[in-house]
């Protein structure tokens, strides 16, 4: 049992780390304070998705989690994705489609898309759009983001590691 602990240990982008924290600190604030600034604050209300990170394989909102709740978990942020020189496929496609305007929503969009790709198989348009439900973008009108995501999914599906199941329906 833990009472008033001021430190929390979890795996962040594959590295196990221990951080000093306070009971009232949100995971989002800890991450940003520790330099993981790709994760954004938008609303603090679970509505916009700018703060989306992946915790134990699932997309969650870091603005609604206390840092201490990450104890022992695996947290992934946008910093675990591609770099400027070596972008991940979703990042390449977002740029190619001109889907990034101000860019504030994009880290969250990428984390939700990553959770989608790592959780689902044979991803239909419907399932993909549902996964993106919790991410708002004020700038783009979504069409280009959608085009980029669909292209990324199609690219992944066309890759050589052909699995047993096929067909677009889920």
């Amino acid at each position: 049992m833990k009472t008033n602990t001021c430190s929390v240990s979890f795996s962040i982008n594959g590295e196990k780390k221990t951080f000093a924290t306070r009971p009232d600190e949100k995971l989002l604030d800890l991450l940003r304070r520790e330099g993981y600034k790709g994760t954004k604050y938008g609303c603090g209300q679970g509505t916009c998705g700018a703060c989306t990170v992946i915790m134990d394989g699932r997309a969650v909102y870091a603005c609604l989690l206390y840092a201490m709740q990450a104890e022992g978990r695996k947290v992934r942020t946008i910093e675990s994705m591609g770099t400027y020189d070596k972008p991940a496929p979703i990042q390449q496609e977002l740029v190619a489609a001109g889907a990034v305007q101000c860019g504030y929503c994009i880290p969250g969009i990428i984390m939700s898309a990553t959770a989608l790709m790592e959780t689902e198989k044979d991803i239909s348009d419907e399932v993909a759009k549902e996964y993106m439900d919790g991410n708002l973008c004020r700038c783009t009108g979504y069409e280009k983001i959608w085009v980029a995501l669909r292209r990324t999914l199609d690219r992944a599906a066309a890759e050589p590691k052909k699995k047993a199941s096929k067909g677009g329906k889920k």
Binding site: M1, T3, G44, C63, L64, L65, E130
Partner: protein, 280 residues
Amino acid sequence: MPEIIVKPASLKELWKTLPALGKARRYLAGGTDIVTADNAGAESSECWVDISDLPELGAIKETARALFIGSGVKISAIENSAPARRWCPALIAAIPHFASPSLRNMATLGGNAANGSPCADGVCALVAEGAFVHLAHNGKKRCLPLKDLFLGPKRTALEKDELITAFEVPKTKHFGAYLKLGPRAYFGISKAAVAVSLEMSGKTVKRASIALGSVAPVPFYAVKTSAWLAGKPLSSEVVLAAAALVMTEVSPITDSRSEADYRREMCGVLLERALKSVCR
């Protein structure tokens, strides 16, 4: 804002710990209701008791007669549970209407019920499923029909420190539907919602159970309409008459989300559509 967060490892430890804690304490499950309140500066309790990993609350179990959904099971885990899909069709139909996938990875049914909101989608569906709620407080346990947990807007029969442990849904073969009218197709608080659970014998209704969200001070069980439907064939006339009857039963208000008259009208429309979806 919490000054302290305690995280007991078991129920036993929880009951041992509680008396020593500050008076202003709250349970923290998925946090999607209370942490949003905290972020908005509207939450004053100093001591939060993190129950999100309590093993006793985290499982879906099946017995010969019922399905038990732990109060701490994440909504997304219910969506993926085969027994829940089999025995709780109305609840499963409600899940796509429940916030967003990321929120569903965090939120729980225990929080949905304890929060006491009349627009809680999971709760409204469970009321239609005829669910019971299991409560525990120290050594004391009790169980009541879920519909009786709600006393008014944000008011429940939960006593101080009383914990929702599980929801029990009787295993009966039935059809289920959930329809929600919100500000947009997905992701928003409902203006009105209807949950339907129907046991059929051929084309005749054996048992109907109808619950509505956002149209009464509590998640509303439509006693009259449910009883009226029993024994009737599910013809278009019967469907229309049920829709007319349910409009007399609800007591919606006008608020920032919608208007009373519109809500009442929509209860009829949603019930009609939900019943028709079962006829098909």
